[in-house]
Symmetry: C2
Subunit: 175 residues, 2 copies
DNA sequence: CACTAAAAAGTAGATGTCTAAGTTTTTCGG
DNA sequence: CCGAAAAACTTAGACATCTACTTTTTAGTG
């Protein structure tokens, strides 16, 4: 690097300071996912299945569309995930009343039973994560995250109005 | 739901309180990614490419292994990403000195030039996100996130010692 | 009451990530 | 200094997600 093509990295360092919150949030999300996934896997449940189970434990019998919206996933993704969950015996899918379009998902006994085993895992991960933070810090953290989410969701909406769109996003890198 | 199979959701509500921080962090990470991705896409760069560019702007000439470690991605992922970046003319890859194993990545003029266009986008997203938070809240947020990351990384290490492993994790759901 | 538009589900194909296995080069103990 | 182990990269294959499109059903309106 001591040749003619040397570049200053000073400015980049500054930018890194600016970008630090986004990076910390991504790392924290990644850690949460990894710690929870380890535990879910040992119970034979994938992270995606956990997402839908969690919604169904609150609101059994939702339609596929409602489930995909609440999970922030697309309908094809929900479709294949729920299909798999039916194969595994966690749910049954059926149409309700005389509406022949909507496909509703209902927890089976097996699906309900998972709740007692899985929810403590999520509680455990949260408790672990928050160890060393006092109540006031936790309160600020919650508020700050809510503000950030609100700000950025407005940004996405504004950008959409200007014609910008979020790309395929296949998957979120583990950053 | 007014039949014999009615289930109480009271307990689930409690658990949701417990789980709230993880959920907020995932949503915040998702929003950050989406807002940045929108902007990167309009400049013809993917999120994955941004990750590697950001590292290279700091430390040009790293090996593929070093890059994959810093990006928290596997070597095959780094391999294909860097291959594509070479095709696009952002970098060149070559071996250095008399080590015939390591493949190093070097930014081209084009790769360096992207910095001026892309870094302001990240700064913009961060400023937008933090709008409405004062300095003390930002400080607490940083500290809290660092504590959470440290706690959970220790958890993962401890769990590994007990034989638990993080599963394939193909991709992080947009939760 | 028929016809079009909207809603919901499903299918097909692309992509980025991962694990597992293979190849080449380097390191190092006997 | 030779052969096994480790290091670094590469290839192959699996999978969850996405977009775009198709199909079926419902709703709305002249």
């Amino acid at each position: 690097m001591a040749d003619g093509t040397t570049r200053s990295t000073d400015r980049t360092e500054e930018i890194y300071e600016e970008e630090r919150i986004a990076r910390l949030i991504r790392l924290a999300a990644r850690s949460f996912n990894r710690s929870l996934q380890m535990r879910l896997t040992s119970e034979g449940v994938t992270f995606g299945q956990w997402i839908f189970l969690r919604i169904l434990w609150r609101s059994d019998g939702l339609s596929q569309r409602e489930l995909s919206e609440r999970a922030h996933l697309t309908e094809p993704t929900a479709h294949t995930a729920l299909q798999r969950m039916e194969e595994l015996g966690f749910i049954t899918r059926r149409k309700v009343g005389n509406n022949k379009r909507r496909q509703h998902a209902f927890l089976t006994e097996k699906g309900w039973a998972l709740r007692d085993r899985l929810e403590p895992l999520a509680v455990e991960v949260n408790d672990l994560a928050l160890d060393g933070l006092d109540e006031s810090e936790e309160t600020v953290l919650r508020r700050a995250l809510s503000v950030i989410i609100r700000n950025l969701e407005r940004d996405e909406k504004d950008a959409a109005a200007r014609g910008l769109r979020v790309p395929a996003t296949r998957s979120l890198p583990n950053i």
